[in-house]
Point group: C2
Chain length 125, copies 2
Amino acid sequence: MTISEISKKCNISPDTLRYYEKVGLLSYVNRTSGGIRNYTEQDCAQVEFIKCMRSAGLSIEILRRYFELFRRGKRTLKARRDLLAKERENLQMRFKELQDTIKRLDYKISVYDKALKSKDNELKF
Amino acid sequence: MTISEISKKCNISPDTLRYYEKVGLLSYVNRTSGGIRNYTEQDCAQVEFIKCMRSAGLSIEILRRYFELFRRGKRTLKARRDLLAKERENLQMRFKELQDTIKRLDYKISVYDKALKSKDNELKF
DNA sequence: ATATCAGTTAGAGTTAACTCCAAGTCAAGC
DNA sequence: GCTTGACTTGGAGTTAACTCTAACTGATAT
């Protein structure tokens, strides 16, 4: 798969793919004899994983650390597991916060709806 | 309340408070005769609201728009309600995504735990 | 009256994560 | 052999959201 093919397939720009490679999220992408990147299905799955974690809020730096551990081989299994478990806990916290914020917005919207009905209230902010 | 007092109370830096004022999130903060900001409880509640929305991911720009509508008075009630409702929907989507990502991490962690037990598996990434 | 200290401003600097650009290369079609 | 078009690189530019700096001011304690 060329860079533009995986770009379309994974909906991520070629520039971003090269950037991810440069900073260590996608190491050792195969090349053709002419020096052109040749992505595998496995690379594609990894890109999907990165995209998913990025959109949940994991930083490039955390993911870089994760893949760096990977490159060091099997003896880092435990460290990788623990890194993921820690990030999972962070997400769990953000999940609860998000839930509360949605509730807060729901309440605020209901206050707006009341004000709109009664036609003469203003809110504090 | 001086800036350092509200800073401690709301756990937000004085620089950030001045920045929020500059970009239009906190307009018309009262001043003493000497020109020093004098925050009210109401300002404090507004700062808490901003903090909550910011940490859920709402941008400064969206919040700026919200408070700008506010300044235009009662006739923008509906527009403000709709702005909040739209952001609420965005958060709802991110909430679901986050839930899926947490599940995905749980699965991945369980795969790690299996690999750690069997002592000889490596994962793909 | 002077030193101290918390506040003020405008504007510069920082960070993360891209995103763009210019100059060059390579394979394929005419 | 030449053009075209997709690729390559290193490095510069962008954006959001702060964060810091320098120079200044005004109230309070000695």
